[in-house]
């Protein structure tokens, strides 16, 4: 348990640092990078937003991509609501911490009080760590120079891939969706303005559902 927590902490620390440096490299100021980590606090959406805007995407397309990526947190929240049974007054506060890591820890606990403790400890420590390392990454970026030299521009894609892997292990529908999304984005990147290709690729989800449904009927 402690070892797992330590692993999660180190990962989030490294990712936070990479995020801060990536944001700075994409032309965001230190206050902007910090505002994202303080207020958005869901890593994949943050990487998606700065990546898209840094590539010159239309802000609306960039925000849409980040938002749709954040929608999965609603489904974590749904499961956590049943598990934690939080008092109404605490929900707006707890909501900010509903992310991949806190959900994974809370859902792995044997009972409600352990889940509440796991959620709170993970949420608090990751929030502090993510924001401190974002600040360090954003401040350090000017000293580091080009993030590409340090390989930090590969951190975003690796984070996406690591999040994706457990999701596609579960079955054929998931793998078909990922494969179709890859094809769609490769076709769309040269044709459409930055930010839009990712949204186009999202169509893979309803498309695969529709085709599979037809096949099952």
């Amino acid at each position: 348990m402690v070892r797992d927590a330590l692993g999660v902490g180190l990962t989030v620390g490294l990712s936070g640092f990479a995020f801060g440096a990536t944001a700075a490299g994409a032309g965001f100021g230190v206050p902007q990078a910090c505002a994202l980590s303080l207020l958005v606090f869901t890593g994949a959406s943050q990487f998606a937003l700065v990546g898209a805007l840094g590539a010159g995407a239309n802000p609306l397309a960039a925000v849409a991509g980040a938002f749709f990526l954040g929608v999965r947190n609603a489904f974590y929240g749904l499961r956590l609501a049943q598990l934690l049974r939080l008092p109404r007054g605490l929900r707006p506060l707890a909501a900010h911490w509903v992310i991949d890591e806190t959900s994974a820890v809370a859902l792995a606990q044997p009972d409600r009080s352990a889940a509440r403790l796991g959620f709170t400890v993970t949420g608090l420590s990751l929030y502090v760590l993510w924001n401190l390392t974002t600040l360090a990454g954003a401040l350090g970026a000017s000293a580091l120079g080009d993030p590409a030299v340090w390989g930090l521009n590969a951190a975003g894609p690796a984070v996406f891939l690591a999040l994706l892997a457990p999701m596609v292990r579960s079955g054929g529908r998931e793998r078909a969706t990922a494969a179709l999304a890859v094809v769609l984005v490769l076709v769309a990147v040269p044709l459409l303005p930055a930010g839009v290709p990712v949204l186009v690729a999202a169509i893979a989800a309803p498309l695969v559902m529709f085709v599979r449904r037809g096949a099952e009927a």
């Binding site: 692993g7 954040g70 609603a74 590409a148 030299v149 590969a154 975003g156 999701m167 990712v198 989800a205």
Partner: protein, 104 residues
């Protein structure tokens, strides 16, 4: 840069709203099979697309293979070896930095 602040604010509000929505909606509303299935597949499509796009897109809508691709390959190997999250991201950063050093 005021556009960036607007985008940051919109993302913050949107992402917070969906988190709160999940914690607050009555059970059953989001539990429909169709909604659940779509909700499971959309992040898969987005993550797959973002992985590829942020690895292979160059400036001005071009596709390029550079040091990032080497980093992603390393991440993939780490993933297949069932390495923990930290090692996956660390391998990508380290290998990409090395590739950048030798090619750039």
């Amino acid at each position: 840069m005021s556009n960036s602040w607007m985008a940051i604010a919109a993302t913050a509000v949107g992402c917070y709203a969906v988190k709160l929505l999940g914690l607050s909606v009555p059970e059953g509303l989001l539990e429909r099979p169709l909604v659940k299935r779509l909700a499971a597949l959309v992040p898969i499509a987005l993550l797959a697309a973002l992985t590829v796009q942020q690895t292979f897109s160059g400036s001005g809508g071009t596709l390029v293979v550079d040091a990032r691709a080497a980093g992603l390959a390393a991440a993939l190997v780490a993933l297949l070896l069932r390495a923990p999250f930290l090692v996956i991201v660390g391998a990508a950063v380290a290998v990409s930095a090395l590739a950048q050093h030798f090619t750039g």
